[in-house]
């Protein structure tokens, strides 16, 4: 049996971080780090090299988009899956997220049940890829 996939969670709201953590557990993965800002998220991704990063977009110090671009531009961790989780629902915001290299863009509010499914799918795709 292989090890459980590792996920880094970044959101400036602690309740949301915990909720996302529940979804991650339900998806059968473990939370490698749960941080409150973009810079910490980037550091955690560099330190841990997670399978998946679930990032809020509007965060202090570095936005989710900036973190996502940094991940995509670093060849060592470029295979990390990125899921953006944002309260911005305008088409332009979604386009900007996907343009930054995110694998998936999810809206807030979200259903923990369906988020768990999406996490599972993303991780399965990573294994398959």
């Amino acid at each position: 049996m292989t090890e459980a996939p590792v996920v880094v969670i970044a959101d400036d709201d602690a309740d949301i971080r915990h909720l996302v953590g529940v979804a991650v557990h339900r998806a059968g993965a473990t939370v490698g780090a749960s941080v409150a800002d973009g810079a910490a998220a980037w550091q955690a991704i560099l330190d841990i090299g997670p399978d998946l990063a679930i990032l809020d977009v509007a965060m202090p110090s570095m936005t989710g988009l900036q973190v996502c671009r940094s991940v995509r531009s670093d060849p060592c961790i470029a295979s990390t899956r990125v899921l953006l989780l944002s309260a911005a629902v305008q088409p332009v915001a979604i386009e900007a997220g996907l343009a930054a290299g995110a694998d998936l863009y999810c809206h807030k509010p979200f259903s923990p049940r369906s988020l768990a499914t999406q996490i599972k799918d993303l991780l399965a795709a990573k294994v398959a890829g």
Binding site: D13, D15, I16, L19, V22, A58, A87, A88, V89, Q90, P91, K108, P109, F110, S111, P112, R113
Partner: protein, 610 residues
């Protein structure tokens, strides 16, 4: 005005003099042929000639003729004085020189006959006759002169000796020729004088005309100046709008106070310069030619322009450009009217930012509420009691309502700021309408409202955003349910306007109608129904919850899809909303166009609430 001055000046420079000497001179100058004038010359000569008697050897042989000559000369002078008026006919006036000639004849007779020294004095009256217009004076003067020359012979016939005949013949001949020459010269002179006089009259007439024209033109230019002053004062009184006028080449000729204030450029720095050469106009310049070509073709142009003034402050200026037309109606220049919208833009930006912030800040706690509620419901280890499940369901429903409100507010702000754009894709409306009915069904069931769907069998396609179209239909269906009392009915129909596309594709419309048997909308409120935050009086009276955003959003969605929304309502009987969208024809596998004709053929779904 300057023209008038020049015309008037000669008159002012020649004032009338009233002193007696000049009056006398002018009197004679007026008629150079004056009889009196000539007679005065003759009389003077006569008087001077009397001095000849002082020469030794010259004396009066016969006293009587000499005295008679003096008498005649005096009489002629007195007569000339009375005949001096220009109105006296020439035929009367010519008597004077004739008398002179007779007087000279008598003088000669009295002073030595044919050889008299006084013969020369005949020249003056002969010339005087010659000066008279016409040949008549000469014809009369000829015999009189010959008679005068022969007069001495009457006193002393011995004088007619050898060689005297030649004098008698050649004397009148020479005098006659002199007279004829003078007559001809005088005639020519008179004709010239007439020409000169005619020219002078003509000149005076022209002068008068020019004076009149100058006066008229002065009046016109005064009017023009007055209206120009008025226009300039009006344009300059505009201090909050920049008004810049240019000629057809973009050279500035109007630069009002508002322009000086807004752009920080003094009028004297702007006038006469090309508008393309102004500092800070760089953004405007590259597109200026294209822009002006559009204006030239008759379409006024409005665009936003960012201008950096001398203090480095960036201004947002809304510029409207229109063509200035000449009398022939051709574009002869351009008028730029600029309004500073920096504050408006800043306000709109802050409002936008505020709405986005609020929307984000409200969504975050709602995310937690809805997420944790789901965790509660999903907890398999400690399932909720029936009562708890009901409470959680209530919380969840209200949280969702709050979420919809936040979304509606955000969407309204987007529409208002013009940032709402449809992400178009092919949408089949059966699924959209069915989904809306499904989501409204629980509420309808709870309220005791019957919800039916009637749709045509053929698929109906439109081009648009499926989420937004669903939102529009959701709004209309949930409204209908909300405004229909228990026991009422809501019918949703999907169809087309029946245009089969054989006469062109543009006419084909997809129609979604939502009819209810609800409270209805008063006729005078129908127009305001789609305004933001407007709520029909029947809504408030029946305590139906809502903030008044749904219909304004629904219409914004319809308009963004090149469609429209219609409403027909009777208070107490019900309301029908019709969403009318341009239909897209999609060829079916069979090859014929998939545009269904006619109205719904069958009821494909019904839902009865209990």
């Amino acid at each position: 005005m300057a023209v008038a001055d020049r015309v008037l000046s000669p008159r002012q420079a020649a004032p009338y003099r009233t002193d007696s000497v000049s009056s006398f001179v002018r009197h004679f100058a007026r008629d150079p042929n004056s009889v009196l004038e000539r007679q005065l010359c003759m009389a003077s000569t006569y008087l001077l000639s009397q001095l000849l008697f002082l020469i030794p050897g010259v004396s009066a042989i016969y006293l009587m003729p000499v005295l008679a000559a003096g008498g005649l000369m005096g009489a002629a002078t007195v007569g000339a004085y009375f005949l001096r008026a220009p109105a006296v006919p020439h035929r009367v006036a010519m008597l004077i020189p004739l008398i002179d000639i007779v007087a000279v004849g008598l003088l000669r007779a009295g002073t030595g006959g044919v050889g008299s020294i006084f013969t020369f004095m005949l020249v003056l009256p002969v010339i005087s006759l010659g000066v008279e217009p016409g040949r008549l004076p000469m014809l009369i003067g000829g015999p009189v002169t010959v008679a005068a020359l022969l007069l001495p012979v009457a006193f002393d016939s011995t004088q007619l000796g050898d060689g005297q005949w030649s004098r008698i013949i050649f004397g009148p001949l020479i005098l006659g020729l002199t007279c004829l020459s003078v007559n001809e010269l005088a005639r020519r002179l008179r004709s010239r004088v007439r020409v000169v006089q005619r020219l002078r009259r003509e000149q005076e007439r022209l002068l008068e005309e020019a004076r009149d024209n100058a006066a008229a033109s002065a009046a016109t230019s005064a009017l023009l100046r007055e209206s120009t002053n008025e226009l300039v004062s009006v344009i300059d009184a505009v201090t909050e709008q920049a008004i810049v006028g240019t000629d057809r080449n973009g050279r500035v000729d109007v630069f009002n106070t508002g322009a000086q204030k807004m752009l920080g450029i003094a009028a004297h720095d702007a006038i006469g310069r090309s508008i393309a050469r102004f500092d800070g106009f760089d953004e405007l310049t590259p597109s200026l030619q294209m822009f002006l070509t559009e204006v030239r073709s008759g379409a006024p142009q409005v665009r936003d322009w960012t201008y950096t003034n001398r203090n480095g402050t960036e201004l947002s200026i809304k510029v409207a450009v229109t063509g200035r037309r000449d009398a022939a109606g051709d574009v002869d220049g351009f008028l730029f009217v600029g309004t500073d919208v920096t504050a408006d833009r800043e306000q709109a930006r802050m409002k936008d930012q505020f709405v986005n912030l609020i929307s984000h800040e409200l969504r975050t706690p709602l995310s937690s509420i809805l997420g944790y509620l789901e965790l509660l419901e999903d907890d398999e280890e400690t399932p909720l009691t029936a009562e708890q499940a009901q409470y959680v369901g209530t919380i969840e429903r209200n949280a969702n309502r709050l979420l919809r409100l936040v979304s509606d507010l955000l969407f309204t702000a987007q529409v208002e700021s013009g940032r709402f754009q449809v992400q178009e894709q092919l949408v089949e409306l059966h699924s959209v309408v069915a989904a809306s009915i499904d989501s409204a069904r629980p509420v309808a069931a709870a309220r005791g409202v019957t919800l039916r769907m009637a749709a045509c069998e053929e698929p109906v396609f439109v081009s648009g955003d499926p989420m937004r179209l669903a939102q529009a239909v959701d709004n209309l269906v949930s409204n209908a349910v909300k405004f229909t009392p228990s026991g009422g009915r809501v019918a949703v129909t999907l169809g087309t306007d029946g245009t089969d596309g054989t006469d062109g594709t543009d006419g084909a419309r997809a129609l979604i109608s939502i009819s209810d048997t609800g409270v209805g909308i008063p006729a005078d409120e129908v127009d305001r129904l789609f305004s933001r935050f407007f709520r029909a009086s029947t809504a408030s009276a029946n305590a139906i919850p809502g903030v008044g955003l749904g219909l304004s959003i629904t219409r914004a969605i319809a308009v963004a899809h090149r469609g429209q929304i219609r409403v027909a309502s009777t208070v107490g009987a019900g309301t029908t909303f019709t969403l009318d969208l341009p239909q897209v024809r999609v060829p079916r596998a069979g090859g014929s166009a998939g545009v269904p004709a006619g109205l719904p053929a069958a009821l494909s779904a019904t839902a009865h609430a209990g």
